[in-house]
Symmetry: C2
Subunit: 269 residues, 2 copies
């Protein structure tokens, strides 16, 4: 299946293609204009602490939806979807280690699992394309934003603590201010950047040594801009040695029914 077939598809068409394994790639540029979400699943005993962790860290973890315990359908973001099958893959982390990578959660979902959806930068792909802002991942079909553990620490909640992960976009100077203005209007998709310029100031020594994603070339005249990133959950799960936490496979987001434009003005969806 070609990406172009799903670029302007509805969210349920994209989710069905993922569920039936007709689409196995990352979700960038799919269902343009709809919120894509990071998925985090924790046992109910950790759910209040994780929800407070999201509340304490709205830049990396802007809450889009919270499921009822045991129910894999997001009540507001996509009530007809099934998080067990409608995401391209999951990573199961146990006690601070990657325990398993699985294509779906059909055999792993339990009645005490609580799923959270948090916002994602890829939700802004349509707005960036329409605004003619040629970020690398939108120009080069193979490119994907590079992601790094930074030296910035999240505000802890219960057992959850660890570093903020940031995503890098190299940007020509004349687009720096417009991009701050534009992204600050979309707090549910990580909002304004957390840092612009020298990577060492946020603890990143080498932009070629990426922790997730792919290295981005910095062209002459380009400035590195860094946004808070949802992969923060994975870094925090590793640092905090959380007994069990399940996250979507990087780049394989959950495509919601929520329109980016519609929700950007509300406080908590």
């Amino acid at each position: 299946m070609e990406r172009s077939e799903l670029e302007f598809a509805t969210p349920d068409t994209v989710r069905l293609a993922i569920r039936e394994n007709r689409w196995q790639g990352v979700t960038k540029r799919l269902a343009l204009g709809y919120h894509q979400a990071n998925v985090t699943i924790v046992p109910k005993a950790l759910a209040f602490d994780f929800m407070r962790f999201c509340f304490n860290n709205p830049k990396p973890l802007p809450l889009l939806d919270v499921c009822e315990p045991g129910n894999p359908a997001p009540p507001r973001a996509a009530p007809n979807a099934d998080l067990r099958t409608d995401v391209g893959g999951y990573v199961i982390l146990r006690d601070g280690k990657v325990a398993e990578r699985v294509p779906s959660l059909e055999k792993h979902w339990r009645d005490d699992h609580v799923a959270f959806l948090t916002g994602c930068n890829l939700s802004l792909d349509r707005i960036l394309l329409e605004s003619r802002i040629p970020l690398p991942h939108l120009v080069d079909d193979q490119a994907f934003p590079a992601q790094f553990r930074s030296s910035i620490l999240c505000r802890p909640a219960g057992p959850f603590q660890g570093p903020l992960v940031v995503s890098l976009r190299p940007v020509f100077e004349e687009l720096v201010i417009p991009l701050v203005e534009l992204t600050s209007r979309f707090p549910l998709s990580h909002g304004a950047p957390v840092h612009i310029g020298d990577p060492q100031k946020i603890g990143i020594e080498d932009l070629q040594q990426v922790h997730w994603g792919r290295p981005n070339e910095i062209l002459p005249g380009q400035i590195p801009m860094f946004w808070a990133c949802g992969i923060t959950v994975q870094a925090v799960a590793l640092a905090s040695k959380i007994p069990e936490i399940i996250v979507h496979a990087p780049g394989h987001m959950f495509v919601t029914d929520l329109l980016v434009r519609e929700l950007s003005v509300t406080p908590t969806v």
Copy 2:
């Protein structure tokens, strides 16, 4: 102590006056420009459900802060305050009934109590005064917005369910649109109104039969405007027969260190 002494006081000055019983009135027009908050305290076993209830109902319950279990200091909204003593009074509800009204929580606070702060209309008093929008409670020193149980239902979460409570402001016609524009920019203070005009359309038969607050006279040429109200928590506690829930005494809000102007652009504070 005169209200005028506290109108432009800092939040900690107001909280100290309340703690030392030098101020025993309602908090309208105090520490103008700072967020005032509804306080809700539940046992830890209900905390995740209540936090989801706030998330599901951001108009009546926009989250300003969540305390660590057992800790009466709001970590972001006023880390040096003590919710046990810095609020003018509390109502303890048990099993759907008002069990007790107490001046402070010094003898009632437990290690498993979790406190939540949610936004309040009174936070906008300064902006309304500066915008020269003469709402009745700002013109008449004795007036306080009337509040009603409406026929609109909240989105449930766990055991929490019940009616949306609305507050009434009678508004001259030429101010209706400006007030929708202005309040929609402050989602953490209940945002835009939920209804304008005929009270019967939201289940209110008689504007003189108020459920909380004081009746407001509707002058010729005025239109009733209704905003979601934080007293929703009390109505929901009664309707849901929650085993234990503690709320601030109506009108006696907690005065936070959060500036209204500063936080209105962030998604979840």
